[in-house]
Amino acid sequence: MSSTTASSGMGGINKLLVTVGKSVGGVVGALYQSGRDAVDTVIRNILPFMAFISVLIGIILKTGFGNWLAHLITPLAGNLIGLLAISIFCAIPVLSPVLGPGAVIAQVVGTLLGLNFAKGDIAPQYALPALFAINPQVGCDFIPVGLALGEAEPETVEVGVPAVLISRLITGPLSVVIAWVASFGLYSSN
């Protein structure tokens, strides 16, 4: 009688230990695998892009091309009208799929603008609308693939591509205006 209760007690403890061990192992395993994924992502995607950006910025800064570019960009990126012009340009339905791939253009322009922000050529509160102004073409190169991933019919793709491209002409500048309004009070001195 007493031996059976003892063994069932032992069984309970065993079960508890197994459960705890399993769940801890699961958490540690998930963390470890995630760490591996994270390092992998950094090496495969992030460091190569940083190297590319660094070469570009190094040359731009050292040759003085940056100053010339700043004279070109600052009057555009430092006010709402200029930012709207950039966004409309990027959203033109013929251009947007060309400017889209890998967001490379948006990333390079973003980095160049960053240089101008760092030098104080553009007021920092324009960072938010600028983020939207340089990016109305996001994903415009990828519409057929993106729709195919969503298991869309070919007819939907036929209508969907022009629908998204035309929509960007409206929503691109609109996003800049929204971001501009939302940027009130951002990095203002008072």
Binding site: D37, I46, F49, L147, L149, A152, E153, G160, S175
Partner: protein, 207 residues
């Protein structure tokens, strides 16, 4: 002729100041310095990017990836079915909640697979909405689109160099992104509906 300059250079090297090299070799030396300077400058930029961004990024990516692994992305399937419902109260689910969660859990480009739960007429709008969120989310959750971080990081790096904090900018980018994708979804859905209607009348006319 250049050699005398070189000799002179060696002789006077012990002095306090060295004249700048002149002549053909001088020009070559200046050119070489300028050339290597381009890459020194680039190396400095690379160093500041790696030191400033990579350590935090790796830790953050690890934590969020582990979280997603433990929750399991298949939970979002139920939400997809909810988002397919017609009616104005489901617009925010379809073009705000669903795209944001898809991009967060499935990341770019697998987020677009959530479109499979929606009727054909909503698919382009959902894609438009989801793809427009893959950059605003990177300010706080870079795991969602690690290949395209520099849209935000490029500008943020400049702001950081001014000595200003990035939290405010990242949060506003995230929130304004939400407003923009909702609007984008609704507007693209309207345009898609228009184009589908036009197409069906054309087909009727042709038939």
């Amino acid at each position: 002729m250049p050699f005398t300059h070189l000799v002179a250079g060696i002789v006077f090297a012990a002095g306090d100041t060295v004249d700048k090299p002149t002549g053909f070799f001088g020009a070559l030396a200046t050119g070489a310095e300028w050339f290597i300077g381009l890459f020194n400058e680039g190396g400095g930029v690379f160093k500041s990017l790696v030191i400033g961004i990579v350590p935090t990024l790796i830790v953050l990516l690890t934590a969020v990836n582990a979280l997603i692994r433990m929750i399991g992305p298949e939970k979002s399937d139920k939400l997809g079915e909810m988002a397919a419902r017609p009616g104005i109260q489901w617009y925010p689910v379809r073009y705000l909640v669903l795209p944001v969660l898809s991009v967060f859990f499935l990341t770019n480009p697998m987020a677009y697979t959530m479109g499979r739960f929606l009727p054909e007429r909503y698919k382009p709008a959902f894609y438009d909405s989801a793809v427009s969120y893959v950059h605003p989310i990177t300010g706080i959750f870079p795991h969602a689109n690690p290949g395209e971080l520099f849209v935000y990081y490029g500008i943020a790096h400049g702001i950081q160099k001014l000595g200003l904090g990035l939290g405010d900018l990242a949060v506003r980018y995230l929130l304004v992104g939400m407003v923009v994708i909702l609007l984008r979804g609704v507007i693209t859905e309207l345009i898609t509906a228009r184009m589908l209607a036009k197409r069906s009348t054309q087909e009727e006319a042709a038939a």
